[in-house]
Every structure is written in C-alpha cells, then in structure tokens.
C-alpha cells in the first residue's frame, strides 16, 4: 500500500488558477490590514499594532507553506524523479501551526476585547449570580476546549501516515467509554443544578415591594409607563390604542374621543362604499385614457399606481377591503362599548399614569418590568443588567430585577463619560429593528427620581387652567375625566 507517494501534481492549469487566486487574495488581505490597523477610536491600549502584525505573520506563513509546497517540492521532484514533499507531512505540520496560531488568537482576543465583555461589574443584583454561573461554565468548557483541540491536532501530527507502521487494531474499551460518559454527566449535573438555582432565583424571586413599570414596545420604539400619585398602573387594552393614546390605557376621555374618531371613519368608509361604482368608473376611465394616449409608457411609475387601482376595482378587491375595514372598525367599537360597561376596568387609575420616553430607576430598589407589545414580537434586552424578556402581543410578560450601579458609577468604571445604559430590541421586528432602543438611567436616590418624575406629564393633566395641556389630551378629555379622578 504505497499511499504517501502523493505526488505534487504538476498541472499548469492548477498553478495558474492558484496564482490568479492569490493575486486576488493579497490585496484583500491588504485591505483587511488597512482597515484593521486603525485602533478603536476610544480605547487605544498600546502603540503596537498587534492586529496588523498578526495578519502579516499569518499571510507570511501561508505564503511560505504555499511556496514550499509548490516551488521547491515540484522542482526537485522534477529533477530527481523522487517524492520530496510528502503532502501528508505538510498537512500535519500546517495543522500544528494553525492550532498554535489559533490558540494565540484566542488568547489575544480575550486580552484585547475582554474589557468590552459584559462580564463582571454587572449593574443588577442577580447579575453577579449570573456572572458566577458564567465563569463556572466557562471554566469547564474552556478546559475541555483546549484539551480536546490540542489532542485533535497533536494526534493529527503524531500519527501521520508511515508506511512501516500499522494502526492499532482497537475496537472499543468499555471502561474508557464508561468514564467519558460518567464524567461529563457529573459535570453537567453540577452545571444543571447550579443553572436551575440561578434560573429559579432570577425568574421567581420577586420582592413584594417591587415597583411596577410598564415597558411598551411598538414598531419601532419603546415607551415606559409609571404609576402616578395613586401608585397603581391603570388598565389597558389594545382596542383603546389611538394616536393620542399610544398605549391604550383605559381612560374615559381618551376612549370617548376614540369612539368619535372610529365612528367618523366608519361613516367615511360607508360613503366610499356607496359611491364605489362611481369611483370605479372614474378609475377605469383614467386607466383607459392613459393606455390610449400612450402615457403609460412615458410615466410608468404613475401608470403602475393607476393600474393597481384599476385592478383592485375590477376584481372587486376594493369593495371587499371597504367591507372588511368597516367590519373591523365596528368590531372595535363594540368591544370598546363592552369594556366601558365594566366600571372596575375603567377605575380611573390610568389618568395620572405617566408615559415617558426614557426609563429612570433608583439604585438598589427592586423593580418589576411589565412588558407589552402592540404589533409584533419584540424583546427587551438590557445587557448591562443581564435582563432579557420577549414582549409578545396578547401575552404580557415580566422580568424582576434590582439595579445596583448608577449610570455615574458605570461611567467611572468604564472610563467613558458619555456612557449610558440602554434597553435594546433584540427580536427581529422589521426594517428599523436595529435602531429601536430606550435610554435607561439609574440614579442614586429616590429624591432624584421623584424630581425627574415630577417633570413628566400625567396622561390626563389636572384640570387647572394654568397647567399646560399634554399633547395626549384635549379639552374635552380633561373636563370629562377630572370628576372621576376626584371621586377616587
């Protein structure tokens, strides 16, 4: 079995392709180097440009291997007619080089980017539990990772083909197999138990005195709702949502306004329905005119709109859509009417709720975030606090945590005066998903928080003439709701 007489194929076509490939690759690497050379704008650690050195060394090594394999090998082979380069050995050596460079790369990366990782210095109480869980897992897996990868490439090198050797005829070893079934089982049991404890603690330990804040997600932004003076959040329903009531709180004035608006829309749609035949005639005429005058070719964009309208009209889609819209709005109206009968639901607690565009929390105070979404699934992600929970339309979710580090402290630790906590969206939700975030500020004392809260307008402004009307309410709303608030 003469296997390792692997001749380097003296195929000129292959060489040409390779030369072509590497002429393409070299500028690419250069491009990589030129972009990578720029140190990060804010955190430059040393004058040494390790990235480019690393890249250059990598390229050199690759070129060396290639050169060795191709030039020396094939030339001498041609001269002597013997196999000089054993590809088998080349591969074994390359394996070792890749392993060493790879491990250096991992180590380098850990050093270089380690400070950006959200590990340690967590800004919440459960965060440190989380981090310790992470370190335990990291310890085990990194150990296994290094040992197995080193063994893999070491075996690859050590047991490379040798004609004079025969592989060990070794089918199985029950003792060995039992050992490496039992050991991972024990380690995993440990991790499972620890994980179980951490998970249960995070998800089910909710202090009784936690403050509730509603975090509301929509395409594409966040809103928070704080309870007003009554310290309780009012009820909500998606049917109540309107331009002036973005969260759909159960507040009578806003609802009345919405009813008027919806009824107006229904009336408008009904008019459209009644005059549908005429509209369709007009659109048809427009379409025919454009086609006959050849305008459809001069203004293809305009014609497309006309054509779509025409198609909808003749296929009956236009009328069906009107019908559907009316039905939907009527359903909404009837549902709203149903809710309004329920006095417990319309308890007036929503009137003084404050809807804000940022979150302000107090250090060491327990919070429960109540998540809602109105259109698609979003996910509230606060990596600094080790918090994440999906916001699902139709299914309220929650996450309880206690912040332990103020924004100021975090800025100091990170050495970055502009640092701010954010809550990001972390579930694909549409085109602007990447820019859906809300600022989170953690302050030192309750007083600071109360000062901030006082600057936020309640949903319904108190009916004092001097008070500035909030954009979300109108005069009619204020006048009708003030008595309810007063009664409570």
């Amino acid at each position: 079995m003469k296997f390792n007489t692997l001749r380097v194929l003296n195929n000129s076509l292959i060489k040409k392709t390779l030369v072509l490939l590497f002429t393409v690759l070299t500028p690419l690497f250069a491009l990589a180097a030129s972009d990578v050379i720029e140190p990060p704008k804010e955190f430059s650690i040393s004058n040494f440009d390790w990235v480019s050195i690393f890249t250059v060394v990598l390229i050199l090594l690759m070129i060396l291997v290639i050169a060795r394999a191709f030039d020396i090998g094939s030339l001498t082979e041609k001269l002597t007619g013997k196999t000089i380069v054993s590809w088998n050995n080349v591969n074994a050596y390359v394996g070792i080089i890749v392993l060493i460079l790879g491990m250096i790369g991992v180590w380098y990366e850990l050093n270089y980017h380690g400070k950006y990782l959200k590990l340690g210095n967590s800004a919440s109480e459960h965060g440190s539990t989380y981090d310790s869980m992470f370190y335990w897992t990291f310890g085990f897996t990194f150990f296994v990772f290094v040992v197995t990868e080193v063994l893999l490439f070491y075996f690859m090198f050590k047991y490379r083909y040798n004609e004079n050797r025969k592989a060990l005829y070794y089918f199985h070893n029950n003792k060995l197999e039992v050992i490496w079934t039992i050991v991972p089982t024990i380690v995993l049991t440990f991790l499972v138990l620890r994980g179980f404890n951490t998970w249960s603690k995070i998800t089910t330990d909710i202090p009784k005195d936690s403050q509730e804040i509603e975090v509301f997600a929509y395409q594409f932004g966040w809103k928070a709702r704080y309870a007003g003076e009554d310290k309780e959040l009012g009820n909500t329903n998606f049917n109540f949502i309107s331009g002036t009531n973005p969260l759909g709180v159960a507040e009578d004035g806003a609802i009345k306004e919405l009813i008027v608006e919806l009824e107006g829309e229904v009336a408008k749609l009904k008019v459209k329905q009644a005059t549908a035949a005429d509209s369709i005639k007009v659109w048809k005429a427009k379409y025919d005119r454009m086609v006959s005058t050849g305008l459809n070719r001069t203004y293809p964009e305009d014609f497309k709109a006309v054509k779509d309208q025409y198609n909808d009209a003749i296929s009956g889609a236009y009328e069906r859509q009107l019908e559907k819209d009316i039905k939907r709005k009527k359903t909404a109206l009837s549902r709203i009417a149903e809710y309004r009968k329920d006095k417990d639901f319309f308890n007036g607690k929503a009137s003084d709720d404050k809807i804000t565009t940022e979150l302000v929390l107090v250090k060491n105070k327990p919070y429960v975030f109540k998540f809602r979404a109105r259109d698609v699934i979003h996910s509230a992600y606060m990596p600094d606090f080790r918090v994440q929970m999906n916001c699902v339309p139709g299914m309220p979710t929650q996450f309880a945590f206690t912040p332990t580090m103020t924004t100021e402290q975090a800025r100091e630790i990170k050495g970055n005066k502009e640092f701010d906590y954010y809550l990001y969206c972390n579930k694909i939700c549409g085109g602007a998903h990447y820019n859906m975030k809300i600022k989170v500020t953690v302050v030192e004392s309750e007083a600071e928080y109360l000062t901030w809260l006082a600057t936020q307008a309640p949903f319904v402004a108190p009916a004092l003439p001097a008070a500035p009307a909030t954009p979300s309410t109108t005069d009619s709303a204020t006048t009708t709701t003030t008595p309810t608030v007063a009664l409570k």
């Binding site: 990235v51 047991y159 070794y170 079934t181 951490t198 259109d375 339309p393 549409g430």
Partner: protein, 627 residues
C-alpha cells in the same frame, strides 16, 4: 435477513434504452438522483453564500457606498447602500437556503441516496419513483424560493424562523407580503420532498440489505441516515402544520397566532385569543430535530472517512450508534431551549434546560470516540480526511458553547446575541458543511468515476478552515458584549461601534472563504470531465460501495450482489498483511456457506414492480410494528 428475495438480477436480462430525459432528468436511478441533489445543493449553497457576503459588506462598511450593489440589486441598494428591509430579506433567505436547501436536502439527499443502496447492497431504493419525485419537489421548492427573492416587495424577511405576527401581517413589513407567501409555498413543497425521501430511506434500510448485512454490520453512515430520516419523518409534518396555520392566519382571517394587535395605519385588528408563542412551539418542534437532521449525516460521513483514512476501526461502534439513538430521541424533547425568554412558564424552562444539557453527554461521547479513533492510527490526509478532522474541531468548539445556551439562566443574556450566531454557525453550519465536503471528496470517485484534485483540495480545506474560524470565533466575544444579532448596522449604538474592526475582519475572512469555495467549484466541475480516472477502490476502504465497478451501471452490481461477511471497520487487522479487509471478501479460514437458492432468483420485470411495492408496504408494516 429475509431480503434475499430482493436480490434481483437486473443486469443480465434487461437493458432498457434510456433517453436523455429518463437518464439525466427524470431519472429513477439513485446515483443520478443523488447527483441531482448534490448539484442543486451546490448551486443553492453558492446563492446562500453570496447573500451572506452582501450583508457582511453592509455590517463591515455601513457608511460606504458600493456602486456594484446598485447595479446588482437595483432599488434594494439605492446609491450602493443596502436597504434595511432587503438586509432582513437576505438574512432570512440565507438562513432558509443554508438550513433546508443545502444542509438538509443537499447533504442528506445526496448521500442518503448515493450510499444507502450502495453500502447496503441493494440495486436501488425501495421506491425509485418516490425518490425521483422527492428530487423534483425539492427542485420546484428551490425555484419558488429563488423567485421569491425577486418579487417587488422583497423576499420573506422575518428571519428564517418567520415568527408571526411579523410574518403574518402584510402591513408589518414589506417582506411579509408576496415574499412570505412564496416562502411558505416553497417550504410546503420542501416538506413533501423531505417526507418522500425519508420514507424511502427508512424502508430501504430496513428491507433491502444484502445477505450478511445485519443491522450491526451497517456502516455508521447508514445508521446516521436512518436516524435522520426518522427524525425528518416525525418532525417535518409538524412544521407543515405550523405553516398551514400561518397560511390560514394570513389569508383566511383565523387567529391561531394572532391576538391583541394594533397596527400603525390600520388600527386594532379583530384577532383575539391566538398565541404567537404557539407558533414558536410548533416551529421548534421541528426546528430542534432539524439541527440534528443536518448534523447527523455529517457525523456519519465523518465516522466512515476517519476510520478509512486512519486505517483503524472506528472506536466504540456500538457507543456511536447508541449516541446517535440518544441524540435522536432527546432532540424531540428539548425544543423549549429556543424559547427560554419568550415568557413561557419558568418551570417549563427548567425542564427544558435539564433535558437539553443531557444531550451534551452523547455528543461528548461521539467527540471522544473520534479522538480515540485518531489515536495510534495511521493517518492519511486526503482532503476528505482533513474536512472530517475540521468537522470534529468545529463540533467540539461549537458544541461546547451549547452548554451555555442550553442553560436557561445563561440564555437570558446570550439569547439572540452574536454568541448564538457563533454557536450554531460552528456546530451545525461549518461542521455540517465540512461533513458534506468530506463526503464529496471521499465519494466523488463513486459518483463520477474520476478523482478530484488533491492539491486543490488541501488549499480549499486550509483556507476554509482558517477563515471559518476567523469569521465565527470572534462572534463569541461580540455576543458576550451584548451585541444583538440581525442588526442592520451598529454605528447608531456607540457601545456596539467598538466592534467595527472585528466586523471588518469577519467580512474580509468571509470574502476569502468565498474565494476558497471557487477553488472547490473549479475542482469539482473540472474533475467531473477531466479528472484522473479512478481505481475501483481508491481509498482502500472496506465498505460495499467500492465493490461496484467504476462505471456506474444501473442496478449497481453486474453480477449478483456481494455477500457481507463482517463489520465495516476491519482496518489494520493484525492477522492480515494488508491494512484493510473489505466486508465482501470471504474469510479464508472460515468461509461462510452461501445459500444458493436465495441468491439465484432472477424474476422477470413484471415481478420486479410488485417487489417494489411490497417492499414499501413491508417497510411501513415494520415501522408500525404490524408484521
């Protein structure tokens, strides 16, 4: 085995004339179908890879303008800057193509078709007709998916998991219109293809093994394909159900997944009572086994290739099968680990966490067994072997991060971050694609009767291996820094902006990886026509497929099907001079007596047809325990 009756000798008495269409297009020969799957898979793979390069360009240079993009994509890249909605579409279609079209159909379809009859000693699949249909459904599905990329409102763009309500509401995102309808159509066709294939694989494995090929003499490839087919058969219908519900919600006004929705510009919708989380349960009931549908064939191929090229029996053959069995079983009851933070009951989360981490045990056993197989072997590094070793490396480094993500507590922070992207691209993306490459390099001689160029193979391997690590390894760090996945650009968030240099490194590595695949493509297509002629058994392997002639004939063996005398991994037996001992060569010391009456049946063509159907029903009976 009672399958001796199936040892039909086609060769001697029927040569039907094959037209171009029956030979290359609507072929019922399993070898041709496997090539069809492979080439379609490669084409889809190229499309998926080009898409990934497009969105990688956006991530590395978000403020740059690439004129070429406008030329290529038109209105989706006005002024050479990718549109955010189209970015999402690219991400979605990249995922769909890679998961379903390349790594499910391209991998399992190719090698199950090629190897199940050849390694078991069968003339063809249990039902060649269904096999052909399986390919053509897959082809139709691919075409529909590719068409969906070109529709005016863009392709489906809610991520490859297409969670409703985003994917259910046309007004929520442009891609949720016609693009999503076509996506669902494509997936429905794909599922049909997958089921037709799966039933066929299972019945062939159970019923059509040659004499002597008992279950415990089957190569591990076949075991892997067998379990894969079972997984597919049980889980794909659930996805079909989920997709049907979604179609109903989209078009017929039902509320399976929709509740309490207010849409900007539309108003409150009528739907109440549905649950978006229901879709996620149904989806991941397929979605998780799907991961193993992708990975297990690659592991099977690796077992075969490593053993052959280490000239050493695979270590722990039985343990390998039990691991596969354990993984298959467990994969059905761990889907919840994709949903820890969807708001499902925390207790349910704990249950899924425990089950998920148990699955790490059989996976660990497999990794250790591969290492021990290499230990004291005599390793020949041809490209197939290198790719298999690459697979083991990815399997380890990607598998270990699964221990983080399977832990509900750790998942709170890591869910949907780049850590997840790194994890699954290593353990199922790179590992499976390396398994596929290993298979292609190893069985290319069997498919085309020619050899692929080894030197190019080495370059292909090392470039791909290094760049794959350069692309996916740094993503772990980004994930740990809380960088979310599926973000169109990071420049708007200062905290993520510090990763710009890493993003550039990743993109450049991805481009290099793309060029490395050109090496493969050239090698593949050049070798089909101009490659060196192959010997009958170029790798000195033990398994049955190397006993067939180099010319690929209909019915596989010219004479009678060889009998199997021993397991597939008898390499370097101390009592033999040669370092391999094929399954089909009788033992000189104790030759097994052939039973002539069983092998000499030569039924006519008419009988053949009935045999085919009876095999199919026998398989069904066997599967349901009726016989």
């Amino acid at each position: 085995m009672s399958t001796a009756a199936l040892h039909v000798d086609h060769h001697a008495d029927h040569h039907h004339k094959e037209s171009f269409i029956s030979k290359y297009v609507f072929s019922m020969d399993h070898k041709m179908i496997s090539k069809q799957f492979l080439i379609t898979g490669i084409v889809m793979g190229m499309v998926g890879m080009i898409m990934s390069l497009l969105f990688r360009l956006q991530l590395a240079w978000p403020d740059e303008q690439f004129g070429i993009l406008e030329t290529l994509l038109g209105k989706w890249a006005v002024d050479g800057k990718l549109d955010p909605n189209f970015y999402m579409g690219l991400v979605t279609i990249h995922g769909t193509i890679m998961v379903f079209y390349v790594l499910t159909a391209g991998l399992s379809g190719t090698f199950s078709n090629l190897l199940i009859p050849l390694q078991l000693g069968a003339r063809d699949m249990a039902s060649p007709m269904m096999n052909m249909l399986s390919y053509w459904f897959f082809f139709a599905s691919s075409v529909v998916l590719l068409i969906s990329v070109g529709v005016e409102t863009g392709p489906a763009s809610g991520g490859w998991t297409v969670y409703p309500p985003l994917s259910a509401l046309e007004k929520a995102m442009p891609g949720s219109g016609l693009g999503m309808t076509l996506w669902l159509t494509a997936i429905a066709l794909f599922i049909v293809s997958s089921l037709l294939g799966g039933i066929n694989y299972i019945s062939t494995v159970l019923n059509m093994r040659t004499k002597g090929m008992s279950m415990n003499r089957m190569p591990l490839t076949i075991w892997a394909f067998f379990f894969t087919a079972i997984l597919g058969l049980l889980s794909f219908p659930v996805l079909l159900g989920a997709a049907l519900f979604l179609i109903f919600d989209r078009s017929f006004g039902t509320s399976f997944y929709l509740s309490d929705i207010y849409l900007e510009g539309v108003g409150a919708l009528e739907n109440i009572g549905g649950s978006p989380v229901l879709y996620q349960h149904l989806f991941w009931f397929l979605g998780h086994p799907e991961v193993y549908i992708i990975l297990m064939p690659a592991l099977g191929i690796t077992s075969e290739v490593i053993s052959t090229n280490a000239r050493k029996p695979i270590f722990g053959y039985t343990a390998m099968i039990i691991s596969l069995m354990g993984i298959s079983f467990l994969s059905f009851i761990v889907w919840g680990h994709h949903m820890f933070i969807t708001g499902m009951n925390p207790f349910l989360g704990s249950v899924f966490m425990i089950l998920t981490l148990i699955i790490a045990v059989p996976s660990a056993v497999k990794a250790f067994n591969y290492l021990t197989t290499l230990w004291k072997g005599n390793l020949r590094f041809n490209p197939a072997m290198l790719f298999s070793i690459g697979l083991v490396s990815f399997f380890i480094s990607g598998g270990l991060t699964g221990i983080y993500l399977g832990n509900a507590a750790l998942d709170i922070q890591l869910h949907d971050s780049y850590f997840v992207v790194a994890h699954f691209h290593l353990v199922m993306g790179s590992a499976a694609i390396f398994g596929m490459f290993a298979g292609i390099y190893h069985w290319f001689p069997k498919m085309y009767g020619r050899m692929m160029n080894k030197t190019l193979g080495y370059f292909h391997f090392w470039l791909t291996f290094i760049t794959a690590y350069l692309v996916f390894f740094p993503m772990h760090f980004m994930g740990l820094a809380g960088v979310p996945r599926r973000y169109y650009q990071f420049t708007l968030v200062k905290e993520f902006d510090v990763w710009m240099d890493v993003n550039k490194l990743i993109t450049v590595s991805a481009i290099v990886a793309g060029f490395a695949q050109l090496l493969f493509l050239w090698n593949f297509f050049y070798s089909i026509f101009k490659g060196k002629k192959s010997e009958q058994n170029p790798w000195q392997a033990n398994t049955l497929e190397w006993s067939t002639p180099v010319e690929r004939i209909h019915g596989n063996w010219p004479g009678e099907i060889p009998t199997v005398y021993r397991g597939p991994y008898e390499y370097s037996r101390p009592d033999r001079e040669e370092d391999f001992f094929p399954q089909y060569i009788p033992d000189e010391s104790a030759p097994e007596v052939l039973q002539p009456e069983e092998t000499q049946k030569a039924p006519s063509e008419k009988e053949e047809e009935t045999v085919e159907t009876s095999v199919f029903f026998a398989a069904i009976k066997r599967v349901f325990g009726l016989s």
